[in-house]
Amino acid sequence: MATLNSNGFVLTTVDELLSWGRRNALWPLTIGLACCAIEMMHAAASRFDLDRLGVIFRASPRQADLLIVAGTVVNKVAPMLKLLWEQMPDPKWCITMGGCASAGGPFPTYSTLQGIDRIIPVDVYIPGCPPHPQGLLYGILQLQKKIKEKGVNKYDKAFEEFRKDMERQGLLPREVVV
């Protein structure tokens, strides 16, 4: 907890400071998969203006710490998406936008991945088909809240397990060391 004492100093912990910085500067990766991506673009454009929450889209996974999976993930694109996720530096978060990314949505078919959480651990699920840009805003606020409450360290263990799991399945790309 940050406290203000009478000399005008703010006292806080390093953890708290880091989490404050991180949750107010979430940089998502610019990836659009399907219809939901259009609403994501709208959220970033003139009316909804995500920039004011410190959310600035980055074109490279190396600079991003948030993955907004906006759209249908089909089986063919799943390994590539995971590769991008693995290229993002820790700590990182994942938001699924829309029914498709969350659980396959209206496509219970042979080619569609039934939920991105089969390959990437998800922090916030946003329902909708597509969610309203306001829905995305709300999801981002929820993520900020989550980071504030839980801090950022809890992911280390999860990632270790995730990596092992991938290794077990033989899905880890050879050249990428996580």
């Binding site: 609403e39 003139s46 080619s111 990437i120 088909c129 397990e161």
Partner: protein, 585 residues
């Protein structure tokens, strides 16, 4: 649009003795043995003027000896006539038509991918949407919609949070097979043999590719020696879904194909189904449909403008265009309750009546929008950078248009006035006045001008619909609920018993369509979106083929970019304006 006339059919019959001419209620079909297929097609193309390759696909009849029937749809621009050519795949093989129409290459790849039909003489017959090593053929009748679950894929969220009771969510543990990166690498290698210095992957997850298209460029310095496009990163199995749901249930799926112009898709789809079911649409519904389709066209062109300009570095245009998009989306949301995937139309009319005040809002928009257009023109049309990046880039000739099955603004940019709204008026397009802008050179800049002018023409159409709707009484019917296959509006279902019973019947048993086949198409912002429905009776189509304008427009990309540079690829792709939801379906 009429089908092949009797005189032509007789002429073809004199030339090819064994060709059978079949006239069904909505189509004219030529049946031919496959040995004669290439000759017949060449004849139709060169002698009879059936120059434009519209579509090709197959139908699976498991109980027939030859099983797969190939279907080709051609169009004659001089006589404004269509014809369907059908042939049986003997031994699961068909001859390839890529020498006659280069774009057949892609359609054949797709049929191979979905049905396993082998094309003799195809230069590189590979999986179109699935990956190399995928062992099924999804559109065969014996393949289930959900695929074949093979691997265990637990939800990681649940794994990490620890299992809870009750479970955090409900899912099937066993999943269809997901490819590995090696599989994808094999897919990539099989497509392009490296000839020059370096193979550059562009996409599939790249902000500039307008979705998830995967480009391969073989580069010599910055010059593209050869290239290929891998699709299927958004293949959701739409055509398979269509075979498994009732006609009215498929309507929301059409929204999700070309998600930028949802209402135009719906309009093409309901036009086809209404033709099959023979449903008359009330006047008011026709005008509202036209008005919304045109608003949606403006909306779609704005997205093209914004992202196309953004790709070439003009961020301002993007922000401006999205400002106007929001206004149109508000109008749509106010009526349909949804911004993007609106599901506003229904078979036989509309889902809702016009919302209170819609006409005033549209009027206000009409008044405001021309000024906004002027703003865009000021920013781009004489902008020196814009001119340098777009002029003389990606020139498409008229022959290309026919050879590659190009439609929509891409065809019109090259001076081919192919516009379904004029050639086969649907909704209220026959009753409104508008011009079809065409380009001269066929470069990126011309396609830009054509789309800009189309927005002006759309405004004209909206204006005319508006005047008409203002004159119609408020209580005019917006859905033809007399027809047995059309659902009554919701409010009436709660009030009248017979309406309730009827809706109940349709929801449970479907519409029961007559057997037959129809092809109907609409002029989408991305070209001709056609629906070919093959019905054997019952409430589900036996085969529903979606002819995607974006797919065929994209098929010319490798040819255009040859000897160009990477920078041109961005400008060119923006001007072709594909949407992956529609190319992959």
């Amino acid at each position: 649009m009429p089908w092949m006339n009797q005189v032509t059919a007789d002429r073809v019959k004199r030339e090819f003795k064994e060709v059978e001419v079949e006239r069904t209620k909505h189509t004219t079909n030529l049946h031919v043995r496959q040995e004669k297929l290439v000759d017949l097609m060449l004849h139709l193309k060169e002698k009879e003027g059936y120059k434009l390759f519209v579509d090709h696909t197959c139908i699976d009849f498991p109980e027939k000896k030859e099983r797969f029937q190939g279907i080709y749809l051609l169009y004659n621009p001089d006589a404004n006539e269509r014809v369907l050519v059908k042939t049986w795949a003997v031994g699961g093989e068909l001859p390839s038509l890529e020498k006659v129409w280069p774009c057949a290459r892609w359609a054949e790849r797709e049929a191979y991918d979905m049905f396993g039909v082998v094309y003799r003489g195809h230069e590189n017959l590979r999986r179109m949407f699935m990956w190399e090593g995928y062992s099924h053929f999804p559109l065969r009748k014996d393949f289930p919609l959900e695929g074949i679950p093979e691997v265990e894929l637990p939800s990681l969220t649940e794994l990490y949070a620890g299992r809870t009771d009750p479970p955090s969510h409900d899912y099937e543990l066993v999943h269809t097979r997901v490819p590995t990166l090696e599989d994808l690498e094999r897919t990539e290698k099989s497509r392009l043999q490296k000839k020059a210095q370096l193979v550059l992957n562009w996409g599939p997850l790249h902000p500039g590719t307008h979705g998830t298209i995967w480009f391969l460029f073989d580069l010599d310095g910055e010059r593209v020696v050869q290239s290929d496009v891998i699709l299927g990163q958004l293949h959701r199995g739409m055509e398979k879904i269509a075979e498994n749901v009732y006609y009215f249930q498929f309507l929301p799926y059409t929204d999700r194909m070309d998600y930028i112009s949802a209402i135009c898709n719906e309009l093409s789809y309901v036009t086809a189904v209404e033709k099959l079911l023979e449903v008359e649409v009330p006047e008011k519904a026709r005008y509202v449909r036209t008005m919304f389709a045109e608003l949606q066209r403006i909306n779609s062109h704005l997205l093209w403008l914004g992202t196309g300009a953004l790709d070439l570095g003009a961020l301002t245009v993007f922000l401006y265009a999205f400002r106007e998009r929001e206004k149109i989306m508000d109008i749509i949301e106010g009526n349909a309750g949804f911004r993007l995937t609106s599901a506003f139309l229904r078979i036989g009319g509309l889902h809702y009546d016009l919302a209170e005040g819609t006409l005033d809002v549209v009027r206000a928009f009409l008044k405001d929008f021309p000024n906004r257009l002027k703003e865009y023109h000021n920013l781009l049309t004489r902008n020196r950078i814009w001119l340098r990046r777009t002029k003389e880039v990606g020139v498409i000739t008229r022959e290309d248009v026919y050879d590659y099955g190009l439609t929509g603004p891409v065809a019109r940019g090259s001076g081919v006035p192919y516009d379904i709204r004029k050639l086969e008026p649907y909704a209220a397009y026959g009753e409104v006045d508008f011009d079809v802008p065409v380009g001269e050179v066929g470069d990126v800049y011309d396609r830009y001008l054509v789309r800009m002018e189309e927005m002006v023409q759309s405004l004209r159409i909206v204006e005319q619909c508006l005047s008409k709707l203002e004159k119609l009484p408020k209580s005019a019917p917006f859905v033809n609920k007399e027809h047995p296959a059309v659902m009554a509006p919701k409010e009436e279902v709660f009030m009248a018993l017979e309406d309730m019973v009827k809706n109940f019947r349709i929801v449970v048993h479907g519409e029961s369509a007559p057997p037959g086949e129809v092809y109907a198409s609409g002029e989408n912002p991305r070209g001709e979106l056609g629906f070919y429905i093959y019905s054997v009776g019952g409430s589900k189509p036996y085969r529903l083929r979606i002819r995607s304008g974006a797919l065929y427009n994209l098929s010319i990309f490798p040819k255009l970019i040859k000897d160009g540079t990477i920078a041109d690829a961005i400008a060119l792709l923006g001007s072709l304006d594909p949407v992956v939801g529609e190319t992959d379906r």
